[in-house]
Symmetry: C4
Subunit: 219 residues, 4 copies
């Protein structure tokens, strides 16, 4: 009981700093990948920032395991899967923006977003973040690879659009093993986003339908 | 209160003229892109028509902001997102045809379309309008580009079919930055159309199912 | 009232003959397209059979318009859209097999298929019929075209699989205008089939869920 | 009645052995396809193991037909379709792991998985098993084929990712008839997985929505 209170207090206090740290992480990674012309010292600094940010995320994770009063192990990882995924993929951390926005709204005593608004805000931000960080990661793997078709960051962004929507023209595709592993992950996310979009629409439609009390034409 | 009445009166009065203006806009844009052989003066006239139509849409938007009695700003744009999108993309304006058809039906005291009928009418018209204007826009970007695979308007239409259905063979693909930006927009629309189709079907099926009171075979 | 009885009697009587005629039509079309080595007289006979079958479908359509006691026109076509589509695309006629199977089951006083069984039977048969007749039609358009990638009937079947599932590798694609028009139609059908599959699954799942009275883990 | 008891007892007793046999089958097939350098005798042994495992599955099927007290025939195959499919495709047998896990949980008197947990566990394991065995089967067909683009097992895995998510870049595609038949089967499975994912999400969302008693913003 007391542990839950302390855990909650910790989470409330670290919410904003961790969100800012997530943005710093993303920015440092983006500059590291995209800025070719920087001197070696600058890249070393960026890598240090990335490492420090990640150390911060790890620290937060460890503190929360401790405060939860449970033993760390397979069971903990299984029940806190999302936290663990976000620890390993800090690029997704800015997704917390939706939660923070809601907290801010509540403090101002304004109505919170509707369910559909939240789903669409999450799916949209997830698509943007996944797309941006996926394009960065694939570009880092592919540039310089022989016979690569993804040669500029613009190509990488175009490839991400094709992939997340499952269109898949195939005019630009990853050719390295690292690029393909990232691609496989993005494809699975594309499926999930598709599910979020179609599922939201279906539920919304059914609700409208039920409210209007209409009887469909029948077969 | 009074403002709402005046806004409603304005919307009722401008409904038909704006719809016609939307068709004029679309037709002028299509002729401008497709008619190569026209003299320069004709193209100048078409561009003037396009500009005038868009000025009309802007005027309507401004009047409605005024009549709504609210201040224009981020909040207004957020709550009237669809209006703002249609202002920036007047090619979607003929979608209003579905609304107008319904108003006409009501005046004739005929039953209005069912929910599914409306969803399918919207999705179908949206697909046609998006497809046609997307094909025009991509064709305008791609023709003349070196190494372009979209060389005729027929290629552009074929490419739009592949894209909106998320099939994506990749035999013809945009190669210019402008073409790819338009393509990314069309892909996202393709996802939404997919959601509309699958969502409608799912809801309709569930309703039929519930009415027949059938018990599914169970797992 | 009396007209409805006469219409129903007509439909009951012509059900089986029209179904057989649909199979004859499909078989004659398939042999006409696939059998290269036949003498010209055989092809002429096949075309005569196709024409005769289609004349039979037209006759049935006209009789039903008459018996319905309504005037033929845009309104009639709109309310009997499916009948009109089947008149123009007799290759879909064998879909009636599902209805006939149900009538047979009822006569034997056996329980009719469940809703999901019917949806899956329809979607499965529709996919097979659309796939087979689409492959025939595209193969007829593409063979002999310069630079065609669909060169054998096997290629056409492979291309149909890619298209109906919206995978779209693009290793074989239609290059003629006729082939692309047929392809566009098949792509739209692919979307609808996808909707049928995902919609059925969603509804079935919701029903199971509701019956078990489970409360989901919540977000 | 008595037959049902005997059938149930048989199924309880053979559950674990058959599951282990399924894993053995999968492992032997994987080693047979992937290990090029093995001497001929090793491959003969692996084929013997595969044959023996399949004979075990056939024996189980025959015993269950007998114990069910029904005559074997079209009707039996139709009502036990899943069993028959698993007999012909023993690579799917490890899917039973989900059932076994649930039985174990019940014995330990722990709460069973929620419906969504089960659907996601099934869909995830089905995707992994189908992907792995599909990659093996296509690789076996394609390697050595002239003009093949799937040349390594890595290519085959990459191709499976593209196919199950319906992205379909087309940079690697099967060129043999055998490979294309397997591909067609995998595509259909891809559609079904898509349906499982989107359907689950839709149902879950609707339930959350109904519980929160929210009224959507309305159109």
């Amino acid at each position: 009981m007391e542990e839950d209170v302390r855990l909650l207090r910790w989470e409330n206090r670290t919410e904003i700093p961790l969100f800012v740290l997530g943005l710093v992480y993303l920015a440092a990674y983006a500059v590291h990948v995209l800025a070719h012309g920087l001197p070696g010292a600058a890249h070393a600094t960026l890598l240090a920032v990335i490492g420090a940010a990640w150390a911060g995320f790890l620290l937060d994770y460890v503190v929360r395991v401790r405060l939860s009063g449970r033993r760390f192990g397979v069971r903990y990882v299984a029940t806190h899967l999302l936290d663990t995924v976000v620890l390993l993929l800090p690029l997704l951390r800015p997704l917390r923006a939706v939660e923070i926005y809601q907290v801010v709204q509540r403090r101002r005593e304004q109505p919170r977003m509707s369910l559909y608004g939240r789903v669409i805000a999450y799916a949209g931000m997830a698509a943007l973040l996944l797309g941006f960080s996926g394009a960065l990661a694939v570009y880092q793997q592919e540039r310089g690879a022989p016979h690569a078709t993804i040669r500029t960051f613009g190509d990488a962004v175009w490839w991400v659009c094709e992939t997340l929507t499952t269109v898949g023209y195939g005019d630009v595709t990853p050719v390295t093993v690292g690029g393909r592993v990232i691609a496989g992950f993005l494809m699975a996310m594309g499926l999930a986003l598709l599910g979020a979009v179609t599922g939201s629409f279906s539920s919304w439609l059914y609700q409208v339908f039920a409210r209007e009390g209409e009887v469909p034409p029948g077969r």
